[in-house]
Amino acid sequence: MSDPVTARIAQNPRFKELVHERTRFGWILTGAMLVVYFGFIGLIAFDKALLATKVGSATTSLGLILGVAVIVFAFILTGIYVQRANGRFDALTAELNRDLAR
């Protein structure tokens, strides 16, 4: 890729918008995953009693539900990213490509 082309894309407002939004979004979701996972590990390390609490009068413990919730959360988070990338980010990329073709 020659430099003038790179510079033209790098200066394009749509490119800046795309990069800014996606980078921010990616880091926010990464942060959410880290907080949830290390929060879960932190509870295991520091508050075992809380996780042993029974849900209602059943055998199932809070820890078990939270553990499964971490797994489901990870999946939902990837779903949210893909949803937004397929819509918003791909649309911005397509607009950028149209701009460049002009």
Binding site: G26, M33, G63, D90
Partner: protein, 564 residues
């Protein structure tokens, strides 16, 4: 895992480290008695081998260019790729090791399941699409995009080969022991069968065959596990609460299995393990390679989404299977080695050790033919994973070391691919030899080490070169080696090697998982060395960042699905 206070968990916890290493961990299986030859299992495995060899033949016919060989011509769909990624991840130890861990200690098994899964969202948010946009065949293509080819490929290929070597040894030893147990075949035969088949898949069929073997195995494993978990739930009227109550009533630890036990007592160890699992996933060369087999960034993104779902589903199944083992096997003496007067320990005396919970449960819910099926799937699982590793290692040798470092680009596709095939044969033979040599060694720490090296060398070099403008060749090279040596050094000085293998009285490094220390050290070194690097090359490399950045973010100019 010096801080894990239960010796049984020690082995199982390691087992949970992605592969069948636990089968090599002495405390878990105990002495392995070769079992009676299991003909239904061998028959079903034979069918799998014939079928996959047919696929390999077909793949070999369609493998002409380097792109075909390394990246299946970029023609793998997102759905297929997600099954292959999930297949790489759903190893024999995730299946047998985690269900065994749930069987012995209930809730604690879930800690590993979550640790293994949460690396995937990170891969998706930070690297999957950029990797696809920048790369061609190996992750070194990406890391060396604007940096010096020779230096960066040396560090990337070294990181790749170290990860592949440790992972392979653990797999080969695990395979030998597992097959001895499941099929009643001698250890050496088992190791040779695995070695020869993986050579055939990789050398003839390249990425196409490797992918399809993985996909077929993933479907078989998911199908088998779904059936087993379904059969368990069926017995309890599809009410998990009834299953848990029955398990609590049977397990010697009683209600304690529903709460965290002794697995995580030391927060630093736990966080270090979590970091190794999370970021190691994002640095495993055989998994990163899969992102180049799809046509574009959208497909890469979708593959991770589906794969995360499949892997999460699989871990929930293993959890149900572990609890099913407690509820259905623990009170049945058939599955235990009986002491005098028919007494048995519900955990220690399980036939074949606690890693055999899923296999014994297969017999309990589906009879001897389903047992044979699950045994064959376990063998297929190991085979598919070692084939992926061998391909990653062979690519590092031919595409990174030979084509870019030794021949410095003065080579052609045909000779590069030929060298890759030769490398696959050599790696296969070395793997058989190492599997033979390490038969009676404790190799359980090697999988943890592979993850730690991936998190401390491959991952920092890759992410810093993609995401930070300031990264220079010197920074990546020195930082990568610092991470590599730190991870290996800390493991050597830890209890698993320093005390257990070398027989020293006290471990010098107090933790078993180095990632919490070695990974930040690698990032810091890359940062500092790059900052200090004022060479003309460094200035040029920083200036080239814009071109790389534009392509990584948009895919404009990205290498397409075909050879170019």
């Amino acid at each position: 895992m010096s801080r894990f206070n239960n010796p049984l968990l020690l082995g199982s916890a390691m087992a949970a480290l992605a592969v069948s290493a636990a089968f090599a961990a002495g405390p878990d299986l105990g002495p392995i008695a070769q079992q009676a030859t299991n003909w239904p299992a061998i028959g079903m495995f034979g069918f799998f081998v014939i079928f996959t060899l047919g696929i390999t033949y077909k793949a070999a016919m369609g493998t002409k260019s380097a792109s075909d060989f390394y990246a299946a011509g970029g023609g793998i769909s997102a759905g297929t790729n997600s099954l292959a990624i999930a297949g790489d991840y759903m190893s024999a130890a995730s299946f047998l090791g985690i269900s065994g861990l749930v069987y012995t200690s209930g809730f604690d098994g879930l800690i590993y399941s979550t640790g293994f899964l949460v690396g995937w969202p990170i891969v998706l948010f930070l690297i999957a699409e950029r990797l696809r946009n920048l790369g061609k065949f190996t992750f070194a293509d990406v890391a060396s995009f604007r940096l010096d080819q020779t230096s960066v490929r040396i560090i990337s290929a070294t990181g790749t080969l170290v990860v592949v070597a440790f992972y392979l040894i653990a797999q080969m030893v695990g395979a030998g022991k597992l097959i001895q147990l499941l099929f009643g075949l001698p250890y050496l035969y088992a190791v040779i069968i695995v070695g020869v088949l993986m050579i055939v898949y990789v050398a003839f069929g390249g990425m196409k065959a490797t992918t399809w073997v993985q996909v077929i195995k993933a479907c078989l494993l998911l199908g088998g596990a779904t059936f087993m978990a379904g059969a368990v739930l069926f017995k309890y009227g599809f009410n998990p609460e009834a299953l848990f109550s029955a398990a609590v009533a049977t397990h010697p630890k009683g209600d304690a299995i529903m709460a965290p036990g002794g697995l995580v007592n030391n927060p630093i160890e736990a966080i270090s393990l979590g970091m190794g699992l999370m970021f190691g996933t994002a640095g495993l060369p055989h998994i990163l390679m899969r992102f180049f087999t799809v046509s574009d960034a959208q497909a890469a993104r979708k593959s991770v989404f589906y794969a995360t779902g499949l892997i999460g589903y699989f871990y929930i199944l293993t959890f149900i299977i572990g609890f099913g083992g407690i509820a259905l096997l623990m009170s049945d003496p058939v599955y235990f080695k009986l002491g005098p007067a028919g007494a048995f320990d519900k955990i220690k005396d399980m036939v074949g050790g606690t890693n055999m919970v899923a296999v014994n449960l297969a017999n309990a819910v589906g009879g001897p033919y389903f047992l044979g099926f699950i045994s064959a799937v376990a063998f297929a699982t190991i085979l598919a994973v070692v084939a992926g590793l061998t391909l990653a290692g062979a690519s590092a040798v031919s595409h990174d070391l030979y084509a870019s470092v030794i021949a410095r680009g003065r080579t052609n596709e045909a000779s590069e691919v030929r060298l890759s095939k030769i490398s696959a044969v050599v790696i296969g033979i070395v793997a058989i030899y190492l599997g033979y040599v390490f038969e009676n060694q404790n190799v359980a720490f090697m999988v943890g080490l592979a993850f730690s090296v991936a998190a401390s060398c491959n991952f920092p070099v890759l992410t810093m070169s993609i995401l930070w403008r300031g990264t220079t060749t010197w920074g990546a090279l020195i930082g990568g080696f610092v991470g590599l040596f730190a991870a290996v050094g800390m493991v050597v000085l830890s209890k698993a090697v320093w005390v257990t293998t070398f027989g020293n009285p006290v471990a010098i490094f107090p933790y078993d998982n180095p990632a919490l220390f070695s990974m930040p050290l690698a990032f810091l070194t890359i940062y500092v060395v790059s900052k200090l690097d004022n060479t003309a090359r460094a200035k040029r490399e920083r200036a080239l960042f814009d071109a790389q950045f534009v392509r990584s973010e948009t895919g404009i100019g990205a290498s397409g699905a075909h050879a170019h």
